[in-house]
Amino acid sequence: MKSHQNTFKTINHEVVIKHPGEEDSVRAILTERQNEAGLPVGYSMNVFSVICLEEVCKIIPVKLFWNNIGVYERYELEAGKTLEKYEADLFEPQDYEKLNYILADDNSPFKDVYYDDILTAPDEHGEEGVDALSGATALELDDKDTVRGAALTCFTLWHWANGEVVSIIKNQTGKSVSLEQLKMFILNENNTYFHIALKELINRNIYSKEVLNTVIKKVLKTPSLTNSAFKYVDKALQENYFYAVNRLFFEGGKIHRLAAIKSLVDTDYSIEKAYLDNFGKQLTQVDSYQEVAALLDLLELKNKNSASVIETAIQLLDEDFLKARKAYWVLKTKSLTPTQQARVDKFYEKYQSRL
C-alpha cells in the first residue's frame, strides 16, 4: 500500500470561508489530493463542531472529505474524540451514521435554516409553541432530517460540508487540471465537470477549434447544456465563433437552432451575407413555427432584402398557415419579381381576413 500512496501528492490551499455560524470569515486549510497524473481526486479540510453547555463550549475537530467536484463524501473524528448532544448525552453509533447521511444531502433543510433558529429553538422543542397570535414560526425539523438533540452540530457541519467550500473546490479542480484533462471533463457524463471545464476555459482564454468541437460534441448529445455552451461559444474569436454556431445550428435540434439564432441576433460580429443566406435556406426545412419566426426575424435584422431569403420565404406561403402569414408580412415590404408579387397578392386575396 505504501507504494500506492507514494503516487499521490497533497497540496494545501489556504482558503477563506464564510460560515453562517461564524460572524467573521474563517481561514482554513483545504488539502487537495492529486493522483500521479496531476488530477485532483479529492479534498479534505479540518473543521470544528462547537457544542455549548451552559457557558462552557467544547470544540470538537472534525475532518471532512469531498470528491474533486465538491461532493461531500465522509467525515472523520480524531481518535478518541466523540460528538455530544445537548445535556451532555453522547452520540450513539446510529447518530454518527445519521450525521453522515445528513451531511451528504446537499438539499437538507439545514440549507435554509438560520443560526438563530437553532439557538432559540433547540430541536427538543415541543410540537407547538405557536398559536395564531404569536409571532415566531418555531423551527421544527423532521426526525429524519436531524440528529435529535444535536441540531447545532448538524447545522454547523452541514454548512462546512455544503457551503462555500464546494465552489472553492470546483474552481481549484479547474485550476489544477491540464488542458487534456479539461477536454475529458467536457465529455464526462456528470455535467458538473462540463461547467467546471467551461469556466476554466474562459479563464484561460482558450477557444481553439479542437476544444470547440469537443464542446459541440457534448452539447449535441446533451441539449440541456446549450445555454451554458453558448456563454462560452459567444466569446470565441470571429472565425471559430461562426464555425461553432454553424455546426450547432445545422447539426443540432430545435433547442440548438433557437440558441444559435439568438446568438446571431445578439452578436457584435458582422455576419457575411452568404453565411446568413445559408441559414435562410433552412426556412423551409426547420419544423417549428417558433424557429421560422425567429429565423425570419434574424434575417430581417441582419440580412434584409436578400434575394435568396426572399425566394425561400415565397415557398413558405404554401406551408402551415402561421409560417405562411409570418412570411407574408416579411415579403409585403420587399421589392419582388412579378411572379413573386403575384404569389404574395394571391395569398393576400385568399387570407386577407386572417392577417
Binding site: 415541543g126 415566531a136 417558433q290 392577417l355
Partner: protein
Amino acid sequence: MKHIVDLTDRSSDNWIQMGSDEKRTPKRDKAIITQVVVIGGGMAGICAAVAAARNGSRVVLVQDRPVLGGNASSEIRVIVHGVTKLKSGLPERETGILEEILLLNRFYNEQHSFTVWDHVLYDFVTREPNITLILNTQCVRAITVDSTIESVLCWQLSTETLLTIQGEQVIDCSGDGLMAATAGAIYRTGREGKEEFNEKYAPDEPDGWQMGATILLSSKDMGKPMPYKAPPFSIKFDADKTHPDRKIIPFVEGFWWVEVGSNDDIIADAEVDMHRLMGFAYGVWDYVKNSGKFPEADTFVLDWVGSLPGRRESRRFMGDYILSEPDQINHKIHEDAVAFGGWPLDEHNPGGIENLAEPPSFWHEHFEKVYQIPFKSLYSKNITNLLFAGRNVSQTHVALSSSRVMGTCAVMGQAVGTAAALCIKKNVNPRTIANQHIVELQEQLLRDDAYIPERPANDALDLAKTADKIYASSISSGDVNLLVDGVPRDELGETHHWQSNGLNAEVVFEWHNPIALKSVEIKCDTNVKKNIMMLKNTRENQAYTTIIPPELLKSVSLELKIDGEWVDYGTQDNNQKRLIKFNFEQVEITAFRITCHETYGAKNVKLFEVRCYN
C-alpha cells in the same frame, strides 16, 4: 363695530334643547346610499370591500376603530395566519387580495412596524375609487323589512353623528356581528355536541363555551438590568399549576394564552374580561421578571401592551350550509367552494388562563392539505341580502377553531365581496348566486387571483386557451401549455407552471385568425410555499422569507402583433403584484408576446397563468 360673540348662547345648539326635552336627538344625521355596505374593517372586511369595489359596486366600508386591520391592527397585533402551517411545516399561501396586501406591506414596511401596517391597509383601501371608508363608526342596528336589510344605523364616535346607510347587499365582517344580530339573522354561540355534526373533537353535550380573547404584549432588550414592579391590578400567574404548554419562552412577543373565555355571553362579559386580561398580562410579565427563573429577561422591559383584547369567537351566523369538522378533515369537495383554509384545528380550552390544568390549545389536528369553504356558509339563511365573512360565518365551534385565522377570513372576504357585486349586477340575492350563478362567481374569483383548491378555472371568456400556438424562448421546468390549464399554482405535487431558463424570457401566444383584445393578465410566481406575513420577530427559514419574494416578476412588457408588426404595449417596471394586468383600447391582433425582463432575484421567471380578454 366690533362683533361680539356670546359663547354662552346655546339657542341654536342641539344639546341644550335635548336637555330641555325640546329635541330628542341631535340633528347631525347623515344618510348615505350605496350598493354594498361592509361592516367591519378587519382583514375580511377589507378584502370584501375591495373585491366588491373592483367588481364594479359602490361600497361603503364601516370600521368601528380609527385604524383598519381588526385583530391584525396595531391595536391588537395578532399575526395574519392563514394556511401558514400544514403538516409539512410549510404554508399554502392564500393569494388574491390578501397576497396583494402582504406584498404591498413588504415593499412599504420592511421594518415590520404595526403602526405602519395600519396605514399600508389604509393606503390599500383608499386606493379604490369605489370605496367610501368610514372610520370610528360602529354599526349599531339594522332596519329590516320582510327579512331584508333596508339600511343600517351607525354611530360615528368622533363626530357624534348618526349615519343611516342604505345598501342593496350588506356584508357583516365585524366578528361579533351586532348588525347582523339586530337584523334578526339566526346565529349560534358555544360548542355543538359531538352528535350533531359527527365531530370527534366536539364535547359530548353542547354547551356555551366560546374561546376567549387575548391581550398581547411585547418587550425589548435595554442592554442593562431593568428591575420590574408589577402594578396592583396584576393577577398572579400560578406557574406551578399550569399545564406545560403555557410556555414562557420566547417571551419577547407576548403570550397568546393570556386568554379569558366565557361559557355564556362573551360579548356582555367583554369589559369585565378586559380588566382581568390586563391583570393576567401584567401578572405573567411579573412572573417572567421576578420569579428568578428567566435571568435572560433581566434586561428586558415592556415595550407595548395591548388595551383592546383580540377576540377569537362569539356569534356564528347560520347560512344555508354549516361548515363542520368532518368537512375539513375529510377535505369534502363542495360544488360551491369559494375559499379555503388549512390552519390546524386549534381549539383553545374552555376558560383559557382561568383553566390552568388544561393545555391552552388542544391542537387537535394539523392538515396535510387545504380544505374548501363553501359559499352557502357565507350568507344568512333567513335574511335575504346579508352575507358574512370572518369568524362569524356559518360553521361549528370546532370548524371555527381552524377557519378563524385572518388569512382564511380574508379569502372568505374576497368571496363575499365578489358575490355581493355579482348580486348587484344581476339584481339577485346571495342564495340565487349560490343556486344559479355559482360557476360565474367561482370563475370571477379565480380570475382575480383567488385560489379554490382542486377547482381549475375554465373561464369561457378567456381567449388565451384558444391560442393556436403557445411557445416560449426557453424552458427549465413545466410547460407553456400549463399556462392555460386553469390551475394557478402547483397543486398536490402536480406541476402547473412554465419556468424559463434565464432572463429575458419570452412567451408568445398566436392565433390563426385575428382576435379582438383589450387585456392580458399574468399570474407570476411569489412562492406560495413560504410565509410573508408580518411577524414581530422575523427569521429566514424554510417556511418564511424576510425579503421580497425573489421569484416575483419585477419587470415585464407586452407586445401585440398588429398587421404583422410587433407593437410595444408597455412595460411594467417595479411590479409589486402576483396578478399583473395590461389593459388597453381594444385592438385586433394575431399574437401577443410577453417578455419577462427581471425578477426580484430569481434567475428564472416562473408563470402560472396567462389570460386575455376582449
